[in-house]
């Protein structure tokens, strides 16, 4: 498919979704059809309307108030993503190569992954204060596990023949990591990173939502408290655009690093 066509299709999807939202939140179902009163399929009190959301977003950007909050959230997200991903990769590799460590800590890692982060928020605030770091920590606890489990598996998936060859070529454990395990696990790493980008942002926003003085999560919380649904949706819209941009960056790096892979086989039915 050509790029312009693809773009057109993508835009079409957005248009259809927004149109549905618009109609649902502005056109009432006449009384008697689904209930005694005339009702909106998507009650604008809870779903706002696309126009209100866009207008709101526009206003926020025009007046400039959102830049500061966006900046805070962006910083938290990027930090959470980088720290979580690097941590996940390092510990993942370490576990994969140290079978005893892995076996001993296995249940603890899994249990840790199951702790509800929302409950941890006060503890992070205690240790890290209310600045960005407690939000980063929350994001890290999400990103870390996603990356960790994939790296751990990715390292185990190295082709035994390639591994045997590399070892016979005289590679030390460190060289194996660098020349064999790491490139081989890269597809796994990147697959997890695509998930992790979103979760880094979620962590940051949830952290802000639970206690902070700035950031998109803070704004969303304020908006929720005053029934400002347009504000909530506008915040989410900005978040979404945001993640698409970060993810595009990840994909660009991925394509560069994985240039060696065979292009998908031309498949004809």
């Amino acid at each position: 498919m050509t790029r312009p066509k693809l773009l057109a299709l993508r835009v079409a999807v957005a248009v259809v979704l927004i149109a549905m939202w618009h109609v649902g939140s502005t056109v009432r179902i006449p009384a008697g059809v689904v209930s005694a009163k005339a009702v909106f399929p998507l009650d604008p009190f809870f779903f706002s309307t696309p126009l209100a959301v866009f207008e709101r977003t526009w206003r926020d950007f025009a007046s400039g108030v959102i830049w500061y909050h966006l900046g805070v959230t962006l910083l938290e997200t990027v930090l959470a993503f980088v720290i979580g991903a690097v941590g996940g990769v390092l510990i993942g590799f370490w576990f994969a190569r140290q079978h005893t460590v892995a076996a001993v800590f296995d249940p603890y890692v899994k249990a840790a992954n199951a702790l509800p982060r929302v409950v941890l928020a006060p503890i992070f605030a205690l240790w890290l204060g209310l600045g960005i770091w407690s939000k980063v920590a929350l994001g890290v606890t999400l990103v870390f596990f996603i990356v960790f489990f994939n790296v751990y598996q990715g390292v185990k998936e190295v082709s035994p023949t390639v591994l045997a060859n590399a070892r016979m070529l005289g590679m030390s454990e460190r060289q194996l990591l660098r020349h064999v395990y790491w490139p081989s696990a890269l597809t796994w790493v990147f697959s997890s990173l695509h998930t992790a980008v979103g979760f880094a942002l979620v962590g940051a926003v949830v952290g802000e939502y639970l206690g902070s003085a700035a950031g998109l999560g803070y704004r969303i919380q304020q908006a929720e408290g005053v029934f400002d649904v347009a504000g909530v949706f506008s915040g989410m819209l900005v978040l979404a655009v945001f993640v698409i941009l970060i993810d595009a960056g990840v994909s660009a790096i991925e394509n560069r690093l994985l240039a060696w892979r065979p292009a998908a086989v031309a498949e004809r039915p």
Binding site: P122, A125, G129, G211, Q222, G225, F227, D228, G231, V232
Partner: protein, 320 residues
Amino acid sequence: AGAQQAEMPKLTLGVGGKTLLYYLPLTIAERNGYFKDEGLTVTINDFGGGAKSLQALIGSSVDVVTGAYEHTIRMQAKGQSIVSVIELGRYPGIVLAVRKERADTYKTIADLKGAKIGVTAPGSSTNFFVDFLLAKNGLKPQDVSFVGVGGGLSAVAQMTHGQIDAISNLDPVITKLESDGAITVLADSRTEEGNARIFGGTNPAAVLYMKSDFVAANPVTTQKLVNAFYRALKWLHAATPEDVARVVPEDYLLGDRALYVAAVKASKPTYSVTGIVSDAGMKNALGMLTAFDPELAGAAIDLARTFDGRFVARATEATK
């Protein structure tokens, strides 16, 4: 009082839901620049609930908190020394209401047996408020089921969509539901007579509290904070709801100025006039807590240590 330098000109304040009208004095003090006038830079951290802002205080993440008075009592039982320095709300402002469609079934509080009641969060003061009312009417908390619905949009959503039978919540949620004609009020602690009926007097709600150490180490800063809040209370007392609507950020207007004005009007009596927690109020608060919390029932609470009236007294003095 402005002459003396504050020990801590920059400080952080925690609040659990700044947009709630419960905390309106804070917004007024902030918007009217009262902190600045006192030479203070106050960073306001908003938390997902009163409990979280208190935890932040204990963990030293914030310096002072605007929160419920009952926390000072609870913390005393836990061996934490927390003291309130000015009363912001004299009535809790909590309202228990039932959904219109179920008003026939749940005519009085005593009928609530088996009902699903929405509270801001399980274990919060809205929850205790219901517990208290149930007890007064011969029911036990186990006779109903509580659902945490928060204090914003989702509370409205749950009520209008019939997920809960009754709701114990604060403004603006209550006024919104009232204006939609969705609820019938059973108990209203926003008014004087309501409080008289429920508690037999006042029952301090929002206060400014902090660690006792903080007060000892930063008397000037504390005084300046109290001054600012005291001014806000005075201003509120004199202002019309329309004045309030002009002062708060536009976002706070619920997208519906009239609704907001109505909500402020309904809440106005709850704001403290003197800034002083009365002895009767303290007893009422303690009585309510000990009724349900076994941990508190056994503890020896020195109510005198929960409120330090010196600062309000000085602020009153200064403004006279």
